[in-house]
């Protein structure tokens, strides 16, 4: 019998329906693999009993013919999602032992669709980081590592590694500046950050509220389409979620892309862009062109300013969002004689270096006298960035760019450690999309000379994930990337 964990969600669903194996068997296969493959440090909490109980229910559903969209599919959940009765920590020391008494809307949707949860996945602390090295539980190791351990990317590094190493059929991720797409690219899997407002943020620990979006990370484009349909939907509990019908994304896969206009932004090809990456980019464009798509050169002139804007707005919002972690109602409490001592001791010990750095920057840019110069200025430039995309989409239907300027680097890379900005620069191709609230998908299209996966990013118009999926599916076929 083949290794069940290597099946895609679509394949597994088909076999489950045909009773080729049971949900319990599938879940057991994943549990075994998960327990035998701890070297990647992908999971921070394994919940095999929970998964098996859910699988048992799924088998009932299959027996009764009441099986749902993701019936019996074992998933991994990023630790940023609050899961009822299951420890959720955002991989921060400050949330030690926190067991939410509520289920996030997105994970509830997945449960309602019949999925089972194998455990909580490692991530950068509070999703702040691009290499999964800021996690309180230690870095995730990229399954593509050979001689030395490489990063899985971040912040959804555990999700990407778990999917790549078949430790779950699919995973949830969140993306604030590239946290789904960049680790997906580093680990050779597919992930989509949907349009802001497509998925509810309720029950997901907030990093930067105006940028955060949940999305699926999976083995291929089809699996992402299946998962996103289950995860998305208007939620009255999230005032920023948008009341729009969720299409059956799977239906568009395989549709003709003839005549589709693919935008290539010149600003995404700075001097010194890695030749292998720019080469793959050109090749990807050609593949789409050979299917009848039209290549259009576009401009996104404010691209160089996206990172500075992001590194003002995200820390500002984070400094406020993370103020609730004060040692009073949940999580870590470090004693202090006075209330302020308790706050300071708890927060100083509970947060890691990168989180503290961003809280400090965010606090500063919001403080009196600097607010206009930094925050308001950033909001204005953010509007210009959004307008860039609006203008570009007058000329094209979808935009193709690389996902990241680099492939996976080694854990503890000196240049990144030395200057945080070097790490921030890795987000250069992904952050604009969050600032503009647009959907974007990353899929693997090839390997670099080191044998590491490289990803391409497809950016769509707001709420037009369908065009992205359609295009990505075509590119996936032609690129014929070989999964780990």
């Amino acid at each position: 019998m083949t290794d069940l964990t290597e099946l895609t969600i679509a394949e597994a669903l088909k076999s489950l329906k045909n009773k080729e194996f049971s949900a319990t068997e599938l879940t057991n296969a994943y549990i075994q693999k998960m327990e035998n493959t701890r070297e990647y440090n992908a999971y921070v909490l394994e919940t095999p009993e929970v998964a098996l109980e859910q699988a048992r229910l799924s088998d009932e559903h299959y027996k009764n013919g009441t099986n749902r969209a993701l019936e019996g599919i074992p998933l991994g959940i990023k630790d940023l999602f609050c899961t009822k009765g299951i420890r959720s920590t955002a991989c921060s020391h400050i949330l030690d032992g926190f067991v939410p008494q509520y289920e996030s809307t997105v994970t509830q949707h997945l449960l309602n669709a019949g999925a089972s949860f194998l455990g909580k996945l490692n991530m950068d602390e509070f999703a702040m980081g691009g290499s999964n090295e800021t996690s309180y539980y230690g870095p995730v190791v990229n399954p593509w590592s050979s001689s030395e351990p490489l990063v899985a990317g971040g912040s959804s590094g555990g999700s990407a590694a778990a999917v790549a190493a078949h430790l779950c059929a699919g995973a949830t991720g969140t993306d604030t500046g590239g946290s789904i797409r960049q680790p997906a690219a580093f680990c050779g899997i597919t992930g989509i950050k949907p349009t802001y407002g497509r998925c509810s943020r309720w029950g997901i620990m907030a990093f930067a509220s105006s940028l955060d979006q949940a999305g699926p990370m999976a083995k291929d484009v089809r699996d992402c389409a299946i998962m996103l349909r289950a995860m998305a939907g208007y939620d009255a509990k999230d005032s920023t979620s948008v009341d729009m019908k969720v299409p059956d994304f799977e239906q568009v896969l395989g549709q003709d892309i003839k005549g589709l206009k693919i935008g290539i932004p010149s600003e995404y090809r700075p001097d010194g862009l890695n030749k292998e990456i720019s080469g793959l980019w050109d090749k990807s464009a050609q593949m789409l062109q050979s299917r009848g798509a039209e290549i259009v050169h576009i401009n996104l002139p404010h691209t160089p300013y996206a990172l500075p804007v992001y590194y003002i707005i995200a820390p500002a919002e984070a400094s406020s969002n993370l103020a609730r972690y004060d040692g009073i109602r949940y999580g870590l409490r470090v004693k202090g004689e006075k209330l302020d001592d308790l706050y300071i001791n708890t927060r100083t010990e509970g947060f890691g270096t990168e989180v503290k750095r961003r809280i400090m920057i965010g606090t500063y840019v919001l403080s009196a006298g600097y607010f206009d110069a930094y925050y308001v200025k950033a909001q204005k430039v953010r509007r210009l960035i959004k307008q860039d995309f609006e203008k570009a989409f007058e000329k094209c239907d979808v935009i193709l760019t690389p996902t990241s300027p680099v492939s996976a680097f080694k854990i503890g890379d000196e240049s990144m450690q030395e200057n945080p900005i070097n790490m921030y620069l890795n987000d250069v191709f992904t952050v604009s999309v969050n600032l503009a609230g647009l959907p974007a998908l990353s899929l693997p299209v090839g390997l670099d000379s080191k044998g590491l996966p490289l990803g391409m990013q497809l950016i769509g118009k707001a709420f037009d994930e369908e065009t992205i999926f359609k295009t990505a599916y075509a590119l996936e076929k032609d690129a014929a990337f070989k999964r780990k």
């Binding site: 008494q101 300013y305 009073i328 109602r329 999580g331 209330l339 400090m360 500063y364 430039v381």
Partner: protein, 95 residues
């Protein structure tokens, strides 16, 4: 706008974080590096540009005034590091 050691300490207090005296200098340098970097935004002409507050042009949804939540005392207190008599307990706050 360069930040000095004192500002680092003030910002840390505002955020209820402690920067060890031995780390203040280093934190200040790091701070200034990041601030210098984000200040490239000053190159952008933003005259007559409205700050973007909400990325989707959606209106704020309003909820009916119904009691639909609460009565969760056990759940609310479940994760409390210290609770007494159904209250959260903190060090004495002197008014």
């Amino acid at each position: 706008m360069a930040v000095d050691n004192n500002t680092v300490k003030q910002v840390a207090f505002l955020a209820r974080l402690k920067v060890e005296d031995s780390k203040v200098e280093q934190t200040k340098d790091e701070f200034n590096k990041i601030l210098n970097w984000v200040e490239q935004l000053n190159e952008v002409n933003t005259e007559n540009v409205e700050p973007l507050v909400s990325v989707n042009d959606t209106t704020l949804p309003l909820r009916e005034d119904d009691v639909t939540d609460g009565n969760l005392k056990t759940e609310i207190l479940k994760n409390a590091p210290m609770q007494e008599f159904g209250y959260f307990a903190v060090p004495k706050v002197v008014e």
